[in-house]
Every structure is written in structure tokens, then in C-alpha cells.
């Protein structure tokens, strides 16, 4: 059991493995280091770092079409940078990929001081991307819901990781 209010990286990794993820296409943010350590140590997962988040969507499309099962792991800032790539390479090609998105600036709907958080959910609404908020390990089953929905509808579904300021805790 993880500490109250935190999201265990082991649980996130377990959710990925449960759904057969082969590749994590990602750009790190400051809070995902423990998850990185775990993923790097897992021989069943290949990490594909991207220098700019938009490239994650085209790469994930190629992986999926070729028979692999990618997930995209980025921050909300990079999600917004990726708009056209997400539109063309994943929604336009019917790619069932889950986006695990660090929700920078999230304050549980308190006073928001970060425009990255201000525009995250409106951005997802604009692209008609279904999303689920995961704030702690108890919310982790929502990750499975996202994988199932992406597969059913053949389009991207997002997980917003609301533990961004606290980081993944062991």
C-alpha cells in the first residue's frame, strides 16, 4: 500500500504490463524519475525517448501499426505542444494509444497558479480526448479503463497524473 495521497510507480508499471505494453515513448519530467528507474530495469519494456513531445505521437503510430503496443508518457506542457501531431498521427490513423500525462500545476481544483494546468483540460476537450484523473494509487484502476477504452474506440485516451508536485513515491 502506498502512502496516502501518492501514486506508486510500481502500480503504474503493473498497469502497463497488464495491458501488454512493449514500448514507452516518452520525454521525462521532473517527477517521473522513480518510474523511469523501474521501466529501465524491466526487460519487457523498451524506452523510446523523444526530444520533443509531438514526435511521440508519430512514433507511437508506427509502433502500433507494426504490431507493438506503445504508451506515451509526457507532461501536460508537451501535450499541448503536440496538438497537430496528435491529431494527424493518432486520431487521424485510428491509433489506440494511452497518454499518461503529468498534470503540472494541478491543485485539486484549488487556486491555480500555473497556466499549464489552466489549459490542460480545455485542450483535451477541444480535441475530444477522453481522460481520467489519477491522483493516487487508489485511482490506478482508471488506467485500465483508459487502455480498454482506447482499444474499443481506436483512438487516444489520456490519464492525467495529478500527483505531479509530489512525484512518484516508493
Amino acid at each position: 500500500m502506498s502512502a496516502e495521497g501518492s501514486l506508486s510507480p510500481e502500480i503504474v508499471l503493473a498497469e502497463m504490463k497488464k495491458h501488454g505494453i512493449t514500448h514507452v515513448v516518452w520525454l521525462p519530467d521532473s517527477e517521473t524519475n522513480w518510474l523511469y528507474t523501474l521501466m529501465k530495469a524491466d526487460p519487457t519494456i523498451t524506452l523510446v525517448p523523444v526530444p520533443r513531445e509531438g514526435l511521440a505521437f508519430s512514433c507511437a503510430a508506427g509502433l502500433h501499426i507494426g504490431g507493438a503496443k506503445p504508451v506515451i508518457l509526457i507532461q501536460n506542457t508537451g501535450l499541448m505542444e503536440s496538438g497537430d501531431s496528435m491529431r494527424g498521427w493518432t486520431m487521424g490513423l485510428n491509433i489506440p494509444v494511452v497518454l499518461i500525462v503529468g498534470y503540472r500545476g494541478y491543485t485539486r481544483h484549488g487556486v491555480n497558479k500555473d497556466t499549464a494546468a489552466t489549459y490542460t483540460e480545455p485542450f483535451l476537450h477541444a480535441f475530444h480526448i477522453q481522460y481520467y484523473l489519477v491522483e493516487n494509487s487508489e485511482d490506478a484502476p482508471r488506467i485500465s479503463v483508459a487502455f480498454e477504452e482506447a482499444k474499443k474506440n481506436q483512438r487516444p485516451v489520456a490519464i492525467l497524473v495529478g500527483d505531479e508536485y509530489h512525484g512518484f513515491n516508493r
Binding site: T22, H23, V25, T46, V48, P49, V50, P51, R52, G54, L55, A56, F57, S58, C59, A60, A61, G62, L63, H64, I65, G66, G67, A68, K69, P70, D84, S85, R87, G88, W89, G92, L93, N94
Partner: protein, 195 residues
């Protein structure tokens, strides 16, 4: 400079059974290719993504060679995809860039610093296993067999004659031999993929 159609005809006998992501070359490649189920013509899903898309495909299909016909305008939008490819070192990836020095589909305006960029040098500097540049068909013809036999990632910059389009979009001839949905379905069926 080479004509796109002619260089594709020179390439074709050396394709083997590779998957070809034809990009903007598809208008000619579709008439040349004899392995249609291994051609992946997607039009232009979002400019700047072809290299990273083909990398994903190459990583998913390590047992198959993947050939990309990229364009310099597309590559300039995402030059950092070269370091992404180089880090993964896909031995099954051959990355051609057809460089006409302009945005041909929008009327032929030059890409930034069009004539002075050495894309092959950038690719080599990023860490591609090997990198070449050709400005004439004869030199390419002499080397294409070796290029296709080398372990990747291999980068090949090709100077081509622009095929500038000025007609309104609605009046242009379709480039795709089949829809992108059909191209994807055919490729996946070819390899028995149903994930």
C-alpha cells in the same frame, strides 16, 4: 539534381521485400512498386512526423527492412528526430530524404537555408551508422545496392528536381493509390498483425 521518378526506378530493383513508407514520393512510387501490401502511403498526417513514424515501424518490425522516403521540409520541422533514430540504432532502417529545396506543394517557396544545408552531415553527427549525399543519378546507381545491404540506420540525402504544384488543392490529382486506412490494413494483414 535527379528526377524523383527516375531515382525511384533505380531504387526499385534493390527494394527486396522491404516495407516502404513512400511519403511525398508516392505519386510516382505507386506506379513503380510491385509489392503493394508492403507500401505504406499515408499522405501527410502531420508534417514533421515521418522519420519518427518510420522509426516506430522499424522498432516494431525488427525482422523487416523499413525504407522511408522523407522530404527535407518534413525533416526540417523535426530535425531532432535524427537523434531519436540514432539512439535506437535500428539496423533495419534506411532513411532517404528527397531534397527539392522548397515547399513544392505550396507553390515552391524555399525551405530555410535551402541550398546550403548538408543533411547527411547532420545525420552523421547525430549518430546514424552511415550517411550519404547524392546529386546525380549515376552516383546513386553505383551505390544503391550497397546502401540497401548496409546495417542501419542509413541516411541518404538526394537532391531532386522540384515538382511544384500551383493548382488549388481541390483541382489536384490524388496522390494516394489507395486510402491510408486501406494501406494500413493491407500492411497489417500482410504480417498477420491484429493488436
Amino acid at each position: 539534381m535527379m528526377k524523383m521518378e527516375e531515382l525511384l526506378k533505380v531504387f526499385a530493383p534493390h527494394r527486396g521485400d522491404a516495407i516502404v513508407v513512400s511519403g511525398r514520393a508516392n505519386r510516382h512510387w505507386d506506379k513503380i512498386s510491385t509489392l503493394k501490401n508492403r507500401d505504406l502511403s499515408l499522405g501527410d498526417p502531420a508534417m514533421g512526423g515521418h522519420a519518427s513514424f518510420a522509426l516506430g515501424l522499424a522498432l516494431a518490425r525488427p525482422q523487416n527492412k523499413v525504407v522511408l522516403f522523407d522530404s527535407e521540409g518534413d525533416l526540417q520541422m523535426s530535425l531532432s528526430s535524427l537523434s531519436m533514430v540514432a539512439e535506437q540504432q535500428p539496423k533495419n532502417f534506411v532513411h532517404f530524404v528527397l531534397d527539392n529545396e522548397c515547399y513544392a506543394t505550396t507553390g515552391g517557396q524555399p525551405v530555410p537555408n535551402a541550398a546550403k544545408i548538408a543533411y547527411d552531415v547532420i545525420a552523421k553527427g547525430c549518430g546514424y551508422s552511415s550517411s550519404y549525399a547524392y546529386t546525380n543519378l549515376e552516383s546513386f546507381q553505383v551505390n544503391v545496392k550497397r546502401i540497401m545491404e548496409e546495417p542501419g540506420p542509413v541516411f541518404v540525402a538526394m537532391k531532386i528536381v522540384p515538382e511544384i504544384e500551383n493548382l488549388p488543392i481541390g483541382q489536384r490529382a490524388p496522390r494516394l493509390g489507395k486510402t491510408k486506412e486501406q494501406a494500413i490494413a493491407d500492411l497489417r494483414k500482410e504480417f498477420g498483425i491484429n493488436n
